[in-house]
Assembly symmetry: C2
Homo-oligomer: 213 residues x 2
DNA sequence: CTTATAACGTTAAATATTTAACCATAAACA
DNA sequence: TGTTTATGGTTAAATATTTAACGTTATAAG
């Protein structure tokens, strides 16, 4: 494959899920002053084969150099551009429970370009309260806010039963991607991507691996 | 395939990752008073095909009934047993930052059988402080604690740079599974499973989907 | 009791993902 | 300046996953 000029090709899902990890590792190396990284060393760091790494990187518009590897500076830049994290990505957070609060306070996301524009919750007793620099807004304000602020991503951190309704509202308001942190499955039209980060499901998956101790 | 009596067969990773979701949905249905669920309806709820559902459930020791589907009560029980969540699973949480705090306070995990036995952190200023019912312990106490309490799962919620060292300590102390919430990749021997729930990586994956708004 | 059929279970085909193999190239060095 | 070689790029094979197809079976209805 390989990319001629602009990225017209569709990158397989499995590859897209690894690109953020290459970015993290490349960023880390560059910050350590490392200028070159080989496919073998990336593979070792991320638990992959060098073949997978080379094939994955063939999807992005960046060439390695024989006998050296990939320049960390350039690779970081192109990975960020490919993923769309070379500029701020605007998010809203819905659900100001423990998890939502933790995410709102997690400065790392902001450093990485994910800008939480607003925090929303349905519960009257928390609306108006503050989480760090955010004043929690009511759900009735969400749709207009998403439209006006041109929010791309909605982070869904509400109870199971509320997840789909919140997702629907976010989609209707124009969100193009949803991060689903709930235990529920969230349906969305093809034009909207949903990525799941279900911690309970991950724990249960682990329980299977751990069960015959 | 199909399981003759006890579970001797290896269940493919892709299937294991879906079993928790079947469990969540089945639990939900049973709590709603629904007694039977078809592969088509499970598929619809979880965004899969009915064929995938039937094939997945063929790996567990449970049979559906023609013209009815799967009995929710029985299915829930067998899924829980297969995953190993039909009894308490003992965990420790390492890293008492915002995310760790949120998880420690999240009662849902306890309700689902994941019992956090202790919370550990390296930072002297937080050791001794409380998070809910937990008193944060220092890392020096961790290894003995994991051994004595027969902890199976370690939840790693520390900064990137500390992740591997914490993982190594957990493995050395006898943990059999790690939930990695950090941006780092964590290496572990084959006897220890690592499941990742990387929120930043998920956001970056979404950014790719969202980027050409 | 017999028949029709909704749903499962299973096989096999299709697709997606990962890995191995090998060619091409640019750097390092004699 | 030529030679060696480490490393990327690419193709194709191997593997894993998903889906379709269809026979089987137990239920429900007549």
């Amino acid at each position: 494959m390989g990319n001629k000029g602009t990225a017209l090709e569709v990158i397989p899902g499995a590859v897209v899920r690894r690109l953020p990890r290459y970015l993290t590792q490349t960023q880390y190396l560059r910050q350590q002053g490392v200028e070159w990284v080989s496919s073998a060393s990336l593979a070792e760091a991320l638990g992959l084969t060098s073949s997978t790494v080379r094939q994955d990187l063939s999807y992005i518009d960046f060439k390695g150099v024989a006998k050296r590897g990939y320049g960390t500076g350039g690779l970081e830049k192109v990975l960020a551009r490919t993923l769309g994290v070379d500029r701020d990505v605007r998010c809203v957070l819905v659900g100001a429970g423990n998890l939502g609060r933790a995410l709102a306070l997690h400065e790392e996301f902001v450093r990485q370009g994910f800008k939480i524009m607003g925090v929303f919750d349905n519960h009257p007793s928390v609306v108006g309260k503050k989480i760090g620099r955010f004043v929690i807004k009511g759900m009735n304000e969400m749709a207009d806010f998403v439209r006006e602020q041109q929010v791309g991503i909605g982070i869904v951190s509400v109870p199971h039963a509320a997840a789909q309704a919140v997702a629907d509202q976010l989609v209707a308001a124009g969100a193009r991607g949803l991060l689903n942190l709930t235990t529920a499955h969230v349906h969305a039209p093809d034009t909207v991507s949903v990525v799941d980060a279900r911690i309970l499901a991950s724990l249960r998956e682990l329980a299977y691996a751990v069960k015959d101790i």
